[in-house]
Amino acid sequence: MDGRCLTSVLLEPVDGTDDVPAAVRSIPRTLAALAVSSRGAGPLRLTDHDIRSALSSDGSVATGLPFSWSARTARRALGLDAVRSLLSGEAKTPAHAVGATLARMARVRSGDRPSSSMEVWVAGLPAGARSAAEAEAVTWATRLWNALDWTAFPSPPLIGRDHWWDSPHSSLLALRSRAEVRSVVPGEQPATVHLVVLGGTRRPTVRSELCVVALVEALRAGRSAPPGRVVGWWPDSGHIARVDVNRAALDEGVAAVAQTLGTGSPRARTGGGTGKAA
């Protein structure tokens, strides 16, 4: 899988999103009903990690472990910041970009007010630990940077913004869509496309995981361009999984949410905002 191939799969024209706006109309009430009837109480803020944990039948996804920063959990956030800098032209290479991000975070130590728990963590790292975190982030960013032909995007893509959908019918329920690269494919009917960097092994449930991303994007779209495609990509193997968004994909997303609510993933009930990084 080379950069041109992944890019063309992501950006090729989208057709057949006509039924998405109609299909979406009834879904908020369906989801609210699921939230109310699910066992347990309290807010249900479902992340991609909760969905994956619930769908995993073999227990291969660790659940219930307290989150802590490490080189591995920090690499995605640092790497995304680096790719943003590369795209904007602020940095020339992933190493420069990650170095600049870490230097900015380290200034917390010299008196700047920290804005996130990761900044506090980074600011307290000794040299060896900081290099390890930097190395992980540089590798993560370089893989994503090399994976796509960035000149092929019709407009600058959005890098790594998580999207939350809050249920208008149930204050209990919120769903998160995590994607690393988002763009709009122009055409008679413009549609959004989303690239999700996947970790772990290839698994039969990955399509359902990507359908939840499509579902959240469809619910959030309103009068904007609807989602047309979600592409999952494993950097370790170069494999991709593709979901073209239509009524069936949205139904599969709803089914995955229903299964997650029924399973009662412990993290989903805490309302915690920090998800597992890939």
Partner: protein, 293 residues
């Protein structure tokens, strides 16, 4: 293959700051030598047969399918790495069952962590301190860190000396790659076979260069701390095969650094290396299947 010996054979503890301090006059020359060997002929990088990766994969799929059938449909994925696949039972203590940790494993892990620091930051402070700090931000290394921290004074000093020597060799040999070469360390490759029921995996110590479709364009640098040179070389060939399956093209050139002895070798990746590896792996997978049967 070009084999090169480093002039550094030992380093005193007081000299352990490596990279930032002015080094012996021979050091930049040694580093440039590897860079020259890696770059030589890079203007004429070989095109890759577009059917190569597919052919190699098909060969492996047959053997993996056989193993998958023998294990049964309900078996969880089987992860196989170079340590399992490539070889002969090794004398290393960490491969024994009684004690998973040893000074040899600690040395290997610390030197690899310091190698990453050298590539990223260009310098290392106190090797044992920096190495341990690097391992501490990887939760999977918690037990190893605990093992090192509880070593007695003598063994800890012995470990510090050994790591210092390895690091001096690595720093002496390894080029300081410009960020424009896109150096990335710890790049993991995992190739699923038989529908994901068998997974071949490994980790590149260092990759440089951007992938170019249809061309062997990246260089891989591997470390061996144990002195098992042939095995280290085979591991690099194995990783080259996985890279071929991942991106459709093998690396252009490989360098293997023996950090204990201070020598390294540079070689091209040839199709016969990949074919030999696939034959070896297929035989190994078939043997595992027959064991199951």
């Amino acid at each position: 293959m070009v084999l090169v010996e480093s002039r550094v054979t030992a380093v005193r503890r007081s000299e352990r700051r490596v990279g930032a301090a002015p080094a012996a006059a021979s050091r930049p020359a040694a580093r440039n030598q590897m860079l020259t060997l890696l770059r030589e002929g890079s203007g004429h990088r070989p095109s890759v047969d577009p059917g190569l990766a597919g052919g190699l994969r098909a060969w492996l799929e047959d053997a993996a399918g056989e193993l998958s059938c023998a294990r049964g449909e309900s078996a969880s994925p089987l992860f196989l790495g170079p340590r399992t696949l490539l070889a002969a039972p090794a004398p290393a203590a960490w491969e024994g069952r009684a004690d998973p940790f040893s000074l040899e494993l600690a040395t290997s892990s610390l030197v690899r962590a310091l190698f990453r620091q050298l590539v990223i930051a260009g310098s290392v402070g106190d090797p044992l301190t920096d190495g341990l700090d690097a391992l501490r931000v990887d939760p999977a290394r918690a037990e190893l860190v605990s093992f090192i921290e509880t070593l007695g004074t003598t063994r800890r000093a012995e470990l510090a000396d050994t790591v210092g020597i390895h690091l001096a060799h690595v720093a002496d040999i390894t080029p300081r790659f410009s960020p424009g070469w896109l150096p990335r360390t710890g790049d993991r490759v995992a190739i699923p076979l038989a529908g994901g029921r068998v997974v071949l995996s490994g980790v590149f110590d260092l990759l440089v260069g951007a992938p170019v479709p249809g061309t062997a364009s990246v260089c891989a640098i591997g470390l061996t701390t144990s002195g098992r040179w042939a095995r280290g070389r085979m591991t690099l060939h194995y990783l080259s095969l996985l890279e071929t399956l991942r991106n459709g093209a093998p690396p252009f050139r490989l360098a293997l650094v023996h950090s204990g002895a201070g020598r390294y070798a540079v070689e091209d990746v040839r199709e016969e290396h990949l074919r030999a590896l696939v034959a070896h792996l297929a035989a190994h997978l078939t043997a595992l299947a027959q064991d199951r049967a």
